[in-house]
Amino acid sequence: MAAQLLSGQGFNNIINVAGGFNAWTSEAAFLAEEKGLALFDGVTSVENALAVAYSLEAGLKDFYDSMAVKVDSDPARQLFHQLSQIEVKHQDRILEQYTELTGKPVTRDTFEARQVPEVLEGGLTTEEYANLLMPAYDTVQDIIELAMSIEAQALDLYLRASEKAKNEAGKKALIQIANEEKAHLARLGRLMEETLT
């Protein structure tokens, strides 16, 4: 019905998803449209968008580090370390992006000083994540699944923030970060397939 309505309104490339969300089995994002966006309230500049993103990645890195300490099995610990390292690379990428977009050099210290504490990608605290996902971290597969749901949540947050960004360069930066989260998600998907086979 929605698809028909749109096609009558000048939209000529409409794709209807048969079965809708009930049939969707890939990663989902949850939470209301506005949740987590308060973090990006001041996205009036590209600097601001990137600084918030940087601190979200830092929050996630801390989360993976704390999980690495908690788990008992070696493969699980190694995987959490690996995920943590990926977040460090992602932070480096955000710093590069800052320089690409503003022409100004930046060091980790500048962004570290602007940390948003306690908050993960997706705009949730670690505890909120644990409660929402009720994850079991026993197997490598559980951990990849957890990481994938976090990345999906992050992708969703960055895109929702980009929709609301008041500044065009800030919006572009957020879209670029969302695309990197998407690539990250695809990498985790491949890792999952390798683990299962």
Partner: protein, 73 residues
């Protein structure tokens, strides 16, 4: 009277095809539109989907880029 003649053909794909389709696109190249109610959206949605509940869908149209593909569910 055949009502179908008034309906524009719309492409329909299943969720696996939708996942593969999205995997090939950059996030800014397709609009994902969730036309369910806000509570349903909150409980779970396709990452990156924009909420535009069916009863208010026409109010949201000016914000959607008609040159991009729009995936609806």
């Amino acid at each position: 009277m055949n009502w179908r003649q008034f309906l524009t053909p719309v492409k329909s794909i299943d969720t696996n095809q939708a996942r593969d389709y999205l995997a090939e696109k950059r996030v800014e190249d397709v609009t994902i539109l969730d036309v369910r109610q806000p509570a349903e959206y909150e409980a779970g949605h396709i990452p990156g989907a924009v909420l535009a509940p069916l009863p208010e869908l026409t109010d949201y149209l000016p914000r959607i880029d008609p040159t991009k593909p729009v995936m609806v569910y």
